[in-house]
Symmetry: C3
Subunit: 347 residues, 3 copies
């Protein structure tokens, strides 16, 4: 389609301000990354770091930040461009114009095993070999890919997608617009065992899991239900693959957890928190709004709102960077100390 | 039910000693956590840390430790109570009076695919789309949830539960009373490759996995079989989600492994060992009875019975705490050292 | 079979050099590990560390390295033996003479759900409840175990095996001779979200995953597809259980990744790289050919070819070992420093 038409679709407001390159108004066949650019595509530049690509890129159009210098470079090259305060978001919208992930047709595959008490909304898609047990409620437009198992009394909101081979345990409540990726397990029994002289005694896990709207849970990740009460993940929080959320955790809105993060029992995470890859948080810890834990951090103490922590046990990121710089010099420091010691004691 | 009846069911011995609050003998409708208490429920207090709740809790009855002070406080509030040396265990028993996890009915779903050579005990429950291959033997009361796959020659003991979408590989032996949670994979090929000038050469894994009685394996955890011999997890050991037990490991009785623990090949773990979240143990290491590895520890050396280790590489927990305290002061220590050095060398 | 026949089968070249023990040419019933040896079996000794077993082992035959001393010890014990420059590889070949993993018969189970547009090669084996969607192409001899789900437009090369309950997402290309272990998820959406003032905005992941020939992916591991372009794992690279490879990573040939390794987005890994258990690599990092990251390393900087790195953040392994040794002495070092400080300042 024409560049102007594409911009009009993804950002009508921006389209009214299209100023440059539109003499040509090139045909755009797709999108490409600025580092692997393709002719006749749209790409984007987020900031100065990638600006040098403008001089030679074979793409036909660019999304640019509000930077007159970059814009005039693009104009000089004869490229069409549009300005956005969030170039990457606009680019994501452009990808979605050219590509939508595979969805099942809104029908029920004859091999699906659906309990007669289950309630299915309009335009629900149920794939082959899906198993839906008693008293499950699926909202309109829910898409359940093949071989998913849903235990009894689960409720799933409108437009949520469950990918293949995932398992949703009894009483789980999932909001609308969520995505549960392949192999994820939501609502299984929390890891609750009481130490006794005869060994570990199982505590039944009578609670359930709540995922609010727009939550995503990555492939093979697990969110456990607690002995009593709920495990909650609030709206628009996105969780990557192989993450473990233990029983009784309360996770706020708009958080991001990267791959292989682990939360022990009853952790409280605020809103807009970022946990980088392989972070671990011990039980009953509280993480304040907007806090960040760096990759591989092991959090043993509460983290205040806005704080950035690193290391095991996690400390202030700034302190960690300084202390680590000295750690790398410990061998020479040790030698220096011993030399001084000898010198002083021989005085 | 009446409080006295509940106590009688869960601990008849304790019931004979019920002494206080029984004028009222309140109706108990359920259980609740002392921090999220509900009226007309039973809760428990394990120690002094939670004692302040007694003054205002809306619950009707409490399980208390053997502490006359707490008991008289409860009596003063008009609460019914019972004493236990293991309050949390008794509370777990009370939960189980009011709640039992979902179980399939003891029947075989018509969509299950069961090889004619498989032997099924009495009252076995087989869910939809389960696949059971040749020469599998299931004991009485085994419950296999939907979409589980069992490879040939697997034996599973009485009353064991396999949750949805888990996979049990060839020749695995699982004891009685075990729980294999959703998505777990037991008995797959160990990661055995021989380095050669032409690249990695696959070593077939001809051994098998043994899980003894009462073992639990968490969601999406994996226990691999070895090239020769067995991988063994002994009775009553409980393993959380996303744990990896490599080929040839020997794990003792009554151990606990929290989420995302990883054991490399041929690790030997004694009895009553506790491995906290995200612990990793390198191959061929031996961990003595009753040892503890703290969260995120990386164990590169054998650990003696009863030892507590922390850090990467893991050292004595006490030493780690002291060394870490100094680590956090490394920047100032470095400055001090340089100042002293200048002072001395300028003398 | 006779030892000489066994050697002839697994290494005809070596068979012509059989020199010792062949007066007896023992019957070999199987293989056993030198540390758990069985009578009438073949075992192997790789080097001096295990040489003491020769004196008392009950096995009938050994694979030995080119070491005349070990060979004469074996001859003295009346053991048959054969020499190899790669004893472990020859032993792996011997295992494969006595054991082959379970394979499905080359037929299509009637419960499999196969889209009419899918193209299946010769001698393909499709297990029960497998779901194969539109435009999938399976090469000759592909073996798909029960309950696997294959999304549309996937291509899988000759002789590749997919174990139970794994999921292959749309457009994934898998080479020949690969093994995808149970529960693994290949080609799911990368974790791509754009920060905006209204929260995380999803970027569709229009790329796909390529696994070249002879790649193995462990149980419950995940390899994600990128927003644009490909995630690639090159030939003969072997990946263990619960590993996460994020969107856009490029992994070279003949690499090994042990359990629970995690690669963030767009990491580039060279050839012959070894990543030990629980290693994490942050996004956009490059790892040179032949580099090694030790268990639990957290790699925040590019790693040169051949380098060995350890720690978080990962540094040269040699420096890490030295610095760690001092770390363990930090408490005493701190005391020493304070004592010196007082001494000097009181002068």
């Amino acid at each position: 389609m024409k560049f102007s038409e594409l911009v009009n679709r993804i950002d009508p407001a921006a389209a009214t301000n299209l100023t440059a390159g539109l003499e040509h108004d090139p045909d755009i066949l797709g999108v490409s990354a600025i580092e692997e650019p393709l002719p006749q595509t749209l790409s984007y530049i987020e900031g100065a770091k990638f600006a040098h690509h403008i001089a030679s890129t074979p793409v036909s159009a660019l999304i640019l930040p509000n930077d007159p210098d970059l814009q005039s470079q693009a104009t000089d090259r004869g490229l069409a461009w549009v300005v956005s305060s969030l170039p990457r978001k606009l680019f994501a919208q452009a990808i979605a114009e050219f590509y939508q992930p595979f969805r099942l047709d809104a029908e029920i595959h004859p091999t699906a095993v659906i309990h007669p008490s289950a309630q299915l909304g309009d335009k629900v898609a149920i794939g082959a070999n899906v198993v839906i047990q008693a008293d499950v409620v699926l909202g309109d437009g829910v898409c359940v890919h093949p071989n998913v198992v849903i235990y009894p009394q689960v409720r799933i909101g409108e437009g949520t997608t469950l990918h293949a081979n995932c398992t949703i345990h009894e009483r789980t409540v999932i909001g609308s617009g969520c995505v549960i990726h392949s192999g994820a397990v939501i609502g299984a029994e929390g890891f609750g065992f009481v130490p006794t002289p005869e060994g570990w005694f199982k505590m039944q896990q009578s609670g359930y899991v709540i995922l609010e709207d727009q939550v995503e849970i990555g492939c093979n990740s697990t969110v456990d239900r607690p002995a009593l009460g709920t495990t909650v993940i609030r709206r628009n929080t996105k969780i990557d693959n192989l993450v473990h959320i233990a029983h009784g955790c309360q996770v706020g809105e708009n958080c991001i957890m990267a791959g292989q993060v682990g939360l022990a029992g009853a952790v409280k995470v605020g809103n807009q928190v970022i946990l980088a890859g392989q972070v671990g948080i011990v039980d009953h810890i509280e993480i304040g709004d907007g806090a960040i834990a760096s990759a591989k951090a092991g959090v043993h103490h509460n983290v205040k709102a806005g704080e950035i922590v690193t290391g095991v046990p996690a400390i202030s990121h700034k302190l960690f960077i300084k202390a680590t710089a000295v750690f790398n010099r410990l061998p020479e420091m040790y030698q220096t100390l011993r030399r001084l010691q000898k010198q002083i004691e021989s005085d």
